[in-house]
């Protein structure tokens, strides 16, 4: 009876120890950065080796290593901006999906809205012109010019006669 009790207590203690280990391991797994967290930053970066392929979907060894670096930095408590800045310092600004608004890069941000505004202005002017009243083809003939023209003189004479 006593032996059975000791066995039962032993089993319970073992179970408890096992459950505690599981709990710790689960905690350890949850504390590291997830793939989604890594990819959220990776999707904003481009490796110069694989042009036009975002880092989150790039299958090369270089990109795998870069993603591991992101995970490492996240685990060390780095913020998204700090990680992006690290990559810029290491590999240059061309790794960024959106170029920083510096130097000639300003053109990327300024030109499209400027072109859009210019286009809207041109369209506005064109529409206004289309709706405007058409100008008369010719103005009234100056009297001195009418006197010189025999046809006009005859026409004037005819009109006066009819009025009478």
């Amino acid at each position: 009876m006593k032996r059975r009790l000791i066995h039962s207590v032993g089993i319970i203690l073992l179970l408890l120890a096992f459950l505690q280990l599981e709990a710790f391991s689960a905690f350890g797994q949850g504390s590291g950065p997830t793939d989604d967290e890594v990819n959220a930053i990776a999707s904003q970066l481009y490796c110069p080796v694989c042009e036009n392929v975002p880092l989150d979907v790039c299958p090369t060894q270089a990109c795998v290593q870069w993603r591991a670096t992101i995970r490492e930095k996240l685990a060390a408590g780095w913020s998204e901006d700090e990680i992006k800045q690290y990559f810029v310092e290491q590999y240059g600004a061309r790794v960024l999906a959106t170029p920083p608004a510096e130097g000639l890069n300003w053109l990327v941000y300024v030109l499209p809205p400027a072109a859009l505004l210019a286009g809207a202005f041109v369209l506005f002017r064109a529409v206004r012109t289309w709706h405007a009243e058409p100008e008369p083809a010719a103005g009234p003939v100056p009297p001195e010019e009418a006197e010189d023209d025999p046809y006009l003189a005859k026409l004037e004479e005819e009109l006066k006669r009819r009025e009478v």
């Binding site: 110069p48 270089a62 290593q65 591991a68 310092e89 590999y91």
Partner: protein, 191 residues
Amino acid sequence: MTDEVSTNDNSVKVPQRSTNLRWGVIAAFVLLIGLLVVLGLGLKRTSQGPIGVGDEVPDLTLTTFDDGDIHFEDLRGQVIVVNFWASWCKPCEGEAADLETAYQMYRDQGVVFLGVDYVDTEPEARGYLEQFEISYPNGPDLGTRISQAFRIRGVPETYVIGPDGRLAAVKIGPYNSLDEIVAHIETALAQ
């Protein structure tokens, strides 16, 4: 605001709106041409190949993994072998041992070897150097400034610079043998 402006005493009148429109069109064309020039220069630079033999190599600085700065300008008068590599680059592994052997052969003859680690991560890069027992100075290509100056297309690539600071030989892709490296160094030493 008046709609018309008198351009001279004979009262020849040019509509103000028309003048504004003309200047607007001129300004738009000037902007467009400026933009095309900028784009053209960018495209020209992008389409240029690597630095050619005989070209002057710009002054660059390599920050080594040991945090030392090596300025190319300070090495003027010596032959410099600049090898671009990466830990993820399989063809680089094939030439690593030959490059180290060549370095040991020429280190006392005024030949400097520099390894430039291209788009790589430091732990893997250090592992690579240890694996292939590379003892000459190596460092990351910070900001990809050095690779952009040489306009490399990939790794491995090796540039041998003569004592006059001009490119003496270039190897795109891996060296196939030690003899090939020696031949390039001898060409540079003969300058």
